[in-house]
């Protein structure tokens, strides 16, 4: 029990889980990329000026509606969102580990970290 985190198998499982997340996200990015290049491959790139919030896919709602219409850029962004979620998933799994160890202090610490990430989600939306 006490040695839960010392157990290398759990680390390996977690590491593999992260790798699966990365692979899933890469496949989605690749699929979206093929559609994107098929549509826009012949046009010219424009990244010299920053468009910021004029970019179409910077919220989950617009990404999902874009994915439904099979927009390549929206599918790529979905893959990126999954990628960003993989380390967050690792935090959540750690919380389960600490619950199994009945380590109240670290359940609390892990929840603080998760809370900070959630805060950054809500802060990013404003202003």
């Amino acid at each position: 029990m006490k040695n839960y985190w010392q157990d290398k198998d759990i680390e390996v499982t977690l590491g593999n889980l992260l790798r699966w997340g990365v692979m899933l996200s890469s496949i989605i990015v690749l699929i979206g990329g093929i559609i994107y290049l098929a549509h826009y491959g012949g046009t010219r790139p424009d990244y010299k000026t920053f468009h910021g919030l004029l970019e179409p896919y910077h919220s989950l709602a617009t990404i999902f509606s874009g994915v439904k219409k099979l927009k390549g850029e929206a599918i790529i962004q979905l893959g990126v969102v999954i990628l960003i979620a993989t380390p967050v998933a690792r935090i959540i799994f750690s919380i389960f580990g600490f619950i199994r160890e009945k380590d109240i202090l670290y359940i609390f610490i892990a929840l603080i970290v998760l809370g900070i990430i959630v805060t950054s989600m809500s802060l990013g939306l404003k202003g």
Binding site: S25, E73, I84, P87, I116, S120
Partner: protein, 279 residues
């Protein structure tokens, strides 16, 4: 240049960056920003957003490989993530409001700093102390298995200093879109005196979480562009994968010197372009 050729060239560049980054242990993200902004004239904000996604990809992708090399001190990582994630939010917001030429200059300085740090001797002198104070309360002292499977115990020192250093690493990660791996290992090796086997993997664990925190802010601010993420994440990942199969890190001293020289040149160019307001 059409988007197709543009994507292919950036893919090849990112592949090389990922390869060199994994062979030298410096991480692939560190050359992505100068590559995109200096060579392709891409706005540095897009470069930062793309880089942070590449950092998450390499960190999560390497997690499984790192397990073989050492063992994460999950408690220490979790505790220090309070510092790095708060820093990451502060940094990401500074990035939104700071002028881009200033970001370019800070980036250049940190780049040179990282190149120098990569040559530092690994600190292995450890003396075990009985846990007391916060180290005891937080249960930070731990053990790791050596090659024969024997448990080697180690103690964590100066957690306040390490915590502050991690906060700074988080700010820089959020501000510049990098993993700040060099600073994180510095805090754990030099200040907290943790064995190298543990600090590398624990740092990798924290890099992903820290980068995800700032990525969330960047994402909602439109810094993360699909057309750039496509070649960069796939390229860096493929490069890192090839790199991890090729060589062990001990055989790459010459390559590290080359990479450090390249990084220093890029850093000077970033500082010059920032100072002359071209970035």
């Amino acid at each position: 240049m059409t988007i197709l050729t543009f994507t292919l060239i950036i893919f090849l560049g990112s592949l090389l960056a990922g390869l060199l980054g994994s062979l030298t242990g410096l991480g692939g993200g560190i050359v992505i920003i100068p590559m995109l902004s200096l060579a392709f004239g891409i706005d540095i904000r897009y470069a930062i957003g793309t880089s942070i996604v590449a950092v998450i990809a390499t960190s999560s992708g390497a997690a499984a490989a790192y397990v073989k090399e050492g063992i994460t001190n999950i408690r220490l990582g979790m505790f220090l993530e309070i510092a790095t994630t708060i820093g990451a939010i502060v940094g990401a917001f500074l990035a939104v409001y700071a002028p881009t030429h200033l970001i370019a200059i800070i980036f250049g300085v940190i780049l040179i700093f990282s190149a120098i740090l990569s040559f530092q001797k690994k600190n292995q002198q450890l003396k075990n102390e009985p846990a007391k104070g916060w180290v005891k309360k937080l249960k930070l002292n731990s053990t790791y298995p050596d090659i024969n499977g024997n448990k080697i115990s180690y103690s964590v020192h100066k957690i306040a200093g390490g915590f502050v250093m991690m906060w700074v690493a988080g700010i820089l990660s959020g501000l510049l879109g990098i993993g700040s791996g060099a600073l994180k290992v510095l805090a754990m090796d030099n200040i907290m005196r943790i064995p190298f086997k543990v600090s590398t993997t624990t740092s990798n664990f924290m890099i992903g979480v820290t980068a995800a925190t700032s990525a969330v802010v960047y994402f909602q601010r439109g810094y993360i562009d699909p057309g750039l993420c496509l070649p960069v994440t796939l390229g860096v990942l493929a490069g890192a994968l090839v790199g991890s199969q090729l060589l062990t890190k001990s055989q790459t001293k010459g390559l590290r010197i080359v990479f450090a020289v390249v990084i220093t040149i890029l850093a000077i160019e970033m500082i010059y372009n920032g100072a002359t307001h071209r970035l």
